[in-house]
Structures are given as C-alpha cells and as structure tokens.
Symmetry: C2
Subunit: 543 residues, 2 copies
C-alpha cells in the first residue's frame, strides 16, 4: 500500500497545532473585552483585564514558590472571585487544581490532601479551622494561603497566615504563563464523594475542559455576554466547567457565597442573570421563598438542573415564575454534564404530566461526547430501545476523564471494554433518550426480579404527604431482598405505613411494595446526596 498523500509533508507544527486549553479563552476575553465585567461579588466588580491580570499574578506567585507541572494546588473556597482565579491561575503555572468540597469532614480532606500530594492549599477564612484540623491528620505539609473574602466577616483573621491578596501581589501581572505541553496534560483533580471505600481522584485534562466548556455554551445556547449566577458549588466538578465557559462567551460571573433565596432573587433582578445551575433543591429554595423576597424579572432565566429529575409541580411552578428549566446529567468523571434532555419544541404542547415525564429523562449525549449508551456489562451489547430493559449507562468520548489518580486498578475497571462504566443503571427509550433507573449498587433483587428503587420512590413521591423518600434493599429470608422505604413527611402530615402500603399497591406490582416503612430524618452527604449505604445498614438491623 502506497503512502497516503494527504499524510505526506503535512505534519503538525506550531503554526497549525496548539494544545486545546480553556486558558486561551480568558486571554482572548481580556484582549477583546478588557473593560467588560467578568466578576460581580457583592459590591466588587472586576473587569476581564483585572481577572486575567490577577490570574497571571497567581500563576507567577505560585511559580516563584517552585510550583509547576505535576504539582497539586488545593482550593478550599466558596464561590468567590478567588475560586475563579484558581481555575485559571493554577493551571497557568502548569499545576493541577484540586477543589475541595467544603462540607467534608476533616479526615476526608486529610486523605485527599495526602493522596493528591498537595503542595499549596488556598483556604477561605471560614474553612480555616476545618483545614487546620485536616492538616493535623495529614502527612503533607503544604503552604497555606488564606483568602479573606470581604463578603465574609464572621471569623477572626489569623494574621500569622499568608494572605491571598498579599501572595498575589508577589506575582507578575504580565507573567508569561505556561501553555500545557500537551492538551492531555491534567488541569484538575476532583475526588468523588464515594459512599463506600476511599475517595477516588478524578483527573481531567485541558482538552476535555476546553471541549466541555464550549459544549456548555452550545448545548444551552448561551449567547455573548450571558450573566451566570453561581448557585452551583464550584468545587463540584469545577462548577461543571462553567468557570471556563463564561470566558469563551465573554459573560459575567455573579458570585454567591451562600445559596439562600434572598441573594439569589436580588442577583436575578439587579444583575440581569440569564443562566444558573443547581440541583432541584436550588429551584425549591427560589420558589418557596417568601413573596417579599421575590422580585419581578424582565428576562427569562435559563436554569440547568441535575442530580435528580425535577418533580412535576416544581417544573410547573418554575415555568409560572418565568424560568426555563433544562435537565442535565453527568458525573465527575465526565467533567460535569455530558448528557442533556434536549427539548423538542412540540413537547411543550403536551399536558403538564407528560411534559414532566419527558423532562425527567436524562436524555442524549452532549455535543462533545462521542458516545452514550446503555449496555449490558457482561456482553457490552446495547439494551433494546424499549424503555424497560435495564443496563449500565456508559460513556465514550473526549469529555471522559483521564483516569483515577494513582489508582490504575480502578481506572482499568472503569474503562473496561473501551467504555466508561458509570455505575448508573438505566433504560433507553425508543427515541434514543436514556433514563436512569438506579445506581447499580442500589438495585433491589427480590426473588430473582430486579426492582428499581427509583421506581418505588417515584410512586411514593406522588403521594401528597411524602416530602422525601429513600428506598433500599432489606435482607429477606425468602426473597433474598425486599424494598424498605425511609420516609420524611411534609410538615403537618401524619399518614402511617398502612396508608402508604395501600398507596403503593395501587401503583406498583405487589413484589415491589416495600416490606417496611420507616419514618425518620434521612441522612445525607455533605453535597446533599442521600446516604443509601447508611440506610442499608439500618435496614439490615430492621430485617
């Protein structure tokens, strides 16, 4: 076979090939719109020129501390300007950003700092006691830098610590920042909360961050100069890559230290917010705010929600209040959202219940994700598109992580067969849209039949007295397992197990009806996820 002439004398060179990295988005924004407001934080307004200069100062100051390629810089920060600067300044010196969930226990943070071999930790003053407790448990001895957010005045300033702004001042605002050597270089590490076992460090690369950041804008039709409100914690998969998306479209970040209804409504009205992200709880918070806190809006706000399907009533309330809600899905391993419930215009003419049912599906692949399917792990064959046959949701493409840090066994297992195994169970509908049915470890196997805990939960959620419900497997002598339902009731409601059992019998096949109903507060992780492993332990004791 002769050589392909289209591969002859047509090689890569610096003129026609550069590593893909979202860092170039900020460079461009600062060149083209230096005066445009990049960041709003309380009374503070920072332009793109300032945002870029400060990010370069951070990179320069870190480089002066001999921080560079392959080093980890940890950030324990709220949704503040410093957190945005870390998303650029840390990789601009070649280092890898490790954003820490501020709701974690000190012991888990200590594990992360050690495992990531952290060299520097940038800490909001509010979380300094937590970090100091963690460092007492950890082996690493990182440089500590304290960020004194002007919007936080509650704790005393420890003056013996390096101040963030003073640290930045040691850096050069014209620093000749480092492009990645290769777009495959790591840009960040994020630890999964992991309901069992040690947390795993998900390593993301510049290429994927570039592509998902653009994918966000394209998928959500975010236009030039969009205004984005930070209701989603940036420590969640780097804020789903939105810290980078906004620079691509020369938008404005509106920071938010605390997710409370009043500052949200104020920002929506006064900053002209066009987009925000969050779990359904964020929407509930907005909708259930006292009327005095709500504000009339002249713009339609696009809301992107993930983590759980938005309930029908909430969707209706949001629509009435002038919001447009899109359902996304993804994992830390996919840079945040990699699946979108891409809405068909004619669906908007359907009855509300049908719309909610369609909206509850996770959907289809993001543009920069090349493959999304529901496969039988044993055979790696796709399930039929019948909306019923369950398989494992799997991803393939350029917005899938580099792998788990210092954990080749977990990496290999996750990528077995050339697909990323999400651990989520789902079905595929006739139109190709996928819908989650459960985490694989949350499935209940009763008498050889698979029971989706989500299906049982959905039936219970339809009962007006139920506020929150979690269904797990309970050991059963005869059937192996049977569902056990943990329930929180709406305030003032007093239904008992018999009522809910009767309700379930109307809605579900009898083998799916929970054997027990337990009324108690439901334990949650620091990110608000229900801790099913705790409930499973509890169910074992009840069996």
């Amino acid at each position: 076979m002769s050589a392909n002439p289209y591969d002859t004398d047509l090689d890569r060179n610096p003129a026609n090939h550069q590593p893909l990295t979202p860092l170039t988005f900020l460079e461009r924004a600062a060149l083209v719109f230096p005066e445009h407001t990049a960041i709003v934080h309380g009374a503070l307004r920072r332009s793109y020129a300032e945002f870029y200069a400060r990010s370069r100062q951070l990179a320069s100051a870190l480089a002066q501390q001999a921080i560079g390629r392959g080093d980890t810089v940890s950030a324990v920060l709220a949704n503040t300007p410093a957190m945005l600067e870390c998303h650029y300044g840390v990789p601009m010196c070649g280092a890898v950003l490790h954003s820490v969930n501020t709701r974690l226990d000190a012991s888990v943070i200590a594990f992360q700092l050690d495992h990531a071999m952290s060299k520097v930790v940038i800490v909001d003053r509010e979380f300094m006691p937590l970090v100091q407790e963690a460092l007492a448990l950890a082996t690493v001895k990182p440089l500590i830098i304290q960020y004194n957010d002007p919007e936080f005045s509650e704790a005393e300033i420890q003056t013996d610590l390096q101040d963030y702004d003073a640290f930045l001042a040691t850096g050069d605002p014209d620093f000749d920042w480092l492009m990645p050597l290769d777009e495959w270089d790591a840009i960040s590490i994020n630890y999964t909360s992991g309901t069992t076992g040690d947390p795993k460090g998900v390593v993301s690369h510049h290429r994927g961050a570039y592509l998902l950041a653009q994918g966000n804008a394209l998928t959500t039709s975010m236009a030039k100069h969009a205004v984005y409100l930070w209701t989603l914690p940036m420590f969640h998969c780097n804020g789903w890559c939105f810290p980078w998306t906004l620079s691509a479209i020369i938008g404005t970040h509106v920071c938010l230290r605390q997710v409370r209804a009043e500052p949200i409504w104020t920002a929506l009205a006064e900053e002209g917010v066009t987009h925000l992200c969050g779990a359904p709880i964020v929407m509930s918070l907005m909708i259930s705010a006292p009327e005095a806190q709500k504000r009339p809006l002249s713009q339609t706000v696009q809301v992107f929600t993930a983590a759980a399907p938005p309930p029908e009533k909430l969707l209706a309330d949001m629509k009435t209040a002038g919001f447009d809600v899109t359902h996304l899905y993804g994992l830390t391993e996919t840079y945040g959202p990699a699946v979108v419930n891409d809405w068909h215009q004619d669906w908007s003419n359907l009855p509300a219940a049908e719309q909610a049912a369609l909206k509850s599906r996770q959907g289809v692949r993001y543009l920069p994700l090349e493959g999304l399917d529901v496969l039988i792990p044993e055979t790696m064959q796709p399930v039929p598109r019948d909306g019923k046959t369950m398989g494992e949701v799997m991803f393939r493409g350029n917005v899938v992580m580099k792998g788990y840090f210092r954990n080749p066994a977990a990496t290999q297992a996750a990528f077995a067969g050339g697909w990323f195994h999400s651990g989520d169970l789902g079905v595929r509908h006739a139109d190709g849209y996928i819908q989650l049915k459960d985490r694989s470890k949350d499935i209940i196997i009763s008498g050889g039949e698979n029971i989706s805990s989500i299906e049982v939960e959905e039936a219970l959620y339809r009962h007006p007295a139920v506020e929150t419900v979690a269904v797990v497997a309970m050991p059963h002598e005869k059937w192996g397992e049977t569902p056990c339902a943990f329930v929180e009731l709406v305030g003032g409601q007093t239904v008992d197990a018999a009522v809910l059992r009767a309700w379930c019998k109307e809605q579900l096949a009898s083998y799916k009806v929970p054997g027990q109903f337990v009324f108690m507060p439901i334990p949650r992780t620091s990110t608000g996820k229900i801790q099913k492993f705790v409930l499973r332990e509890h169910a074992k004791e009840l069996a």
Copy 2:
C-alpha cells in the same frame, strides 16, 4: 526529575479519547432530532434522519467503488442538497472532499483534478459541459456522477451518465461509516484561486473543521434551530464550515441555487432565515432589489460578511432594513473565517461614520484560533499597536490548514517561523483589533515610501461618482512606482481624471495621489475578486 504522577497510568483509550470530527455532529442530530428539517431546497424538505441516511448511502456507494482513505472525490456543484451530502458522505468513507469553484475555466479545473488525483467527480448537470471540457484536458479518468437538481431544468439530461440518486441507491443507509483514524486526517482540499502561478491545494483536517464549525456558532451566538440561507458558495472553503456548524446546532439549511434578490427575500420571509453569509455584493443585491421583491421580516437576520469591509452607506441601509451585520475575515488556509470584528455594545451609540470605520476593521481572533498578530516578516516581531505601522497578518492555531498538497516548499514557506503567513498586510490598533491595508504584492513603493493601495481606493470610494476602483503600482522613472487608479463610475456619472485628482489631493498626501486615472471595466476572477495582476500588466503598458 521524577515522573509526573498526572501522566502515569492515565493514558488515552477509546473510552476517553476519540478523534474530533464534525461527522459526529450529523450523527447526533439524526439521533436527537430525526424529524427536524435539515434541508430546504425549493419544494424539497429533508429531515435530519434523511440527511444522515443519504450521507451514509453516499459513503457506502463510494466505498463499493473502492474509494477510501487518501482518495479524492471532487464536487462541481451549486448550493444544493447534494453538496451538503458530499460534506458528510465523502469523508464518511474516509475520502477527501475537493469542492470546485464552478466559475473557473476548464483548464484550471483540469489542473485541479490532476493535481488532486481525483477518483470521482460529482457534477451538477449545469456544469457537465465545463467538466467534460476539463476532463478532455486532464490526465485523470475519474468516475463521473451527474446530479440532476430538480431546481434546474435548463440543460438536457445526458442519460449515458451515472445518475447521482441512482448511485446513492446502490449504498446502504445504515452503512457503518468510517471515523477518521486520527483527527489530523484530511477532510477536504480546496484550491486557492491564485492570481499568479499554479493554484495551491489547501488541505484541511477533521480537527480544524470540528473546531471552526463550533467556533462559527459560538462567535456568532447561533442558537439551537437557527435557519441558515446559502448565499455563500459552498465551494468557498467548504462554505466557511457552516455545512458542519448547522448540524451542531440542529439548524436548517436553506439551499439557493442562484444568488438573486427575489429568492433571497422569499426565503428570508417564508423560511424564517436567521443567518446568512456573503461578500458585500450579496448585501447590495438585497438592498438594491425592487421594492416589490422585498418582504417584511418578523425576525432580525444576522449577516456575516467578508472579503471586503462593508461600506458605510450599505451598513446604514442594512440596519434600516432590519439586518445585523458582522464583519469576518479569513482565508482558505484558515478554514474560512478565523477573525471577527467582535462588536462592543457601546460602539452602537457612536455616529454612523465612526461605526462604519470601526466595522471596517477585520478584528480579533476567533475562539478556536490561538494566535493572531501583525508581524514584521524579517524579524517576526509584532508591529506597535499604533494603527499605522504595517506588517504581515499572521495566524497560529488549530484552525490553520494542514499544509499545501504535494507542495512542501510552499508549505514550509507559509509556516516559516511557526506562524502562517497570510500575505495580507495590515496594522494593529491600540485595542488589539487588526485592520488589513493590502496584499503584500499590492503595496506600492514610491520614492521609498510604502503606499497602501487600499488607502487610495478608500479615498476614491468616498467620491459619490465612483462605483468601483482598483489601484495598482505603475512603473515610474523617478519614483520607482506610482499609483495608477482604474475606475468604474456610477451609471450616469461623468467625472473626469482632473476632478478625481483634485479630490484625492484633498484627501491624501500628494505622493499617494494616482499618476493616472483609467476609466474602464475592471477585470475580476470567477469568485469576483479584482484581478490586480491584469491591471498591473495594463499599468505597465500605460507607463
């Protein structure tokens, strides 16, 4: 130095790395919105399911003819559905698409077919005589496929030729199309018209096509379901990558066989067109249409123009007519537009003349272009940002071509010093925006002073009697060169050389005033570019 832990056991694999290619955009569009109208052509409506199936059929039919990786398939087509199918079907069998400018002479087409080693030529019936003339001159003996566009009924159908639809029917609509082996694989070849010497074959790769296609949507804030009118020839740098952009945003292509005012206005009104591209002549055509042909529009239409700065009056007329005009710039070597006059909202408050002056600048880099600068070729140093000092406009990044086909010397020269040398001369303004002043070969050197032919042309364009003007160097015994102006007057106008000379003296330094004014029709290339090399020859004779 120890190994970087972020590069250890974290390699590429099929789950986390796939070649970037715009072909996946169409696959996704057909999955997610199979019923959405992808293509409108006269009475014809094709859905995304049909568009994808037909593209796969084309790929399959070509593969059955042993066409594959490294092979060239030429298309001599108008802006028709077949041309869109070629943009997917040809690369889906691994081959490289060679779109031919239908206005070229047979001898030039013959050169291209031979140089590209074309294996198949897909020809619109209108251009069959031209192609047959070319093939009589060419060495290659490609398979000829004739496209019988239902919107074209003028020429007789040659029934001895393979019909395009019959050829497609031999292919499998479920064909397992070929992803590129590497995103660096060629997707297309386009020959530059080349005012001197042989045409050069610009090779583009899948990676660049993917990135520029997305860049178009991001740069121009094209939202989901945009409707795009094909006023720009698709044989121009693959229609600036818009055949791929539209699939990314699930938009609708409105084909247009001929660029005439009436079908343009009809499409704008009846198809709800939101976006179109073209040289300023397209806008002139729309604005100067008889009032009876114009239609009221309920939408604002985004118009992207390139090739020449839009004149002030045309901008004002377009604004009044409800269009929003953006000025782009690029070359075949940069996949089409790679520079955008990114508009600042506050500029819209300036007087019209100032706005036109700002709009006439070419602007700043597209998001997927990593570098744009004006450099002195001898030193590769940037010019000062003074709006005056001329240098050569240079590009660097992922939307720069792979190189020139079978022409390593030209490729090396174009990429000297790690930048792509555009051959265009320009300046950089204080705000970083670039502005073209001339092609390097069009500069006039008089008494050691550089004279920008564009500056002289702009002065003459401001005279109300001047319709078109082209200024070139004329040999001069004393000064070396002096400007010579070729002028076409507005119909009915009768100014003479003395009037224009006096006008120029008011506007320009005296050494820039043309030594001669010649009133004659100005020769143009098949793509409407003024043929300055012809005028230079003419000026030599006049000297």
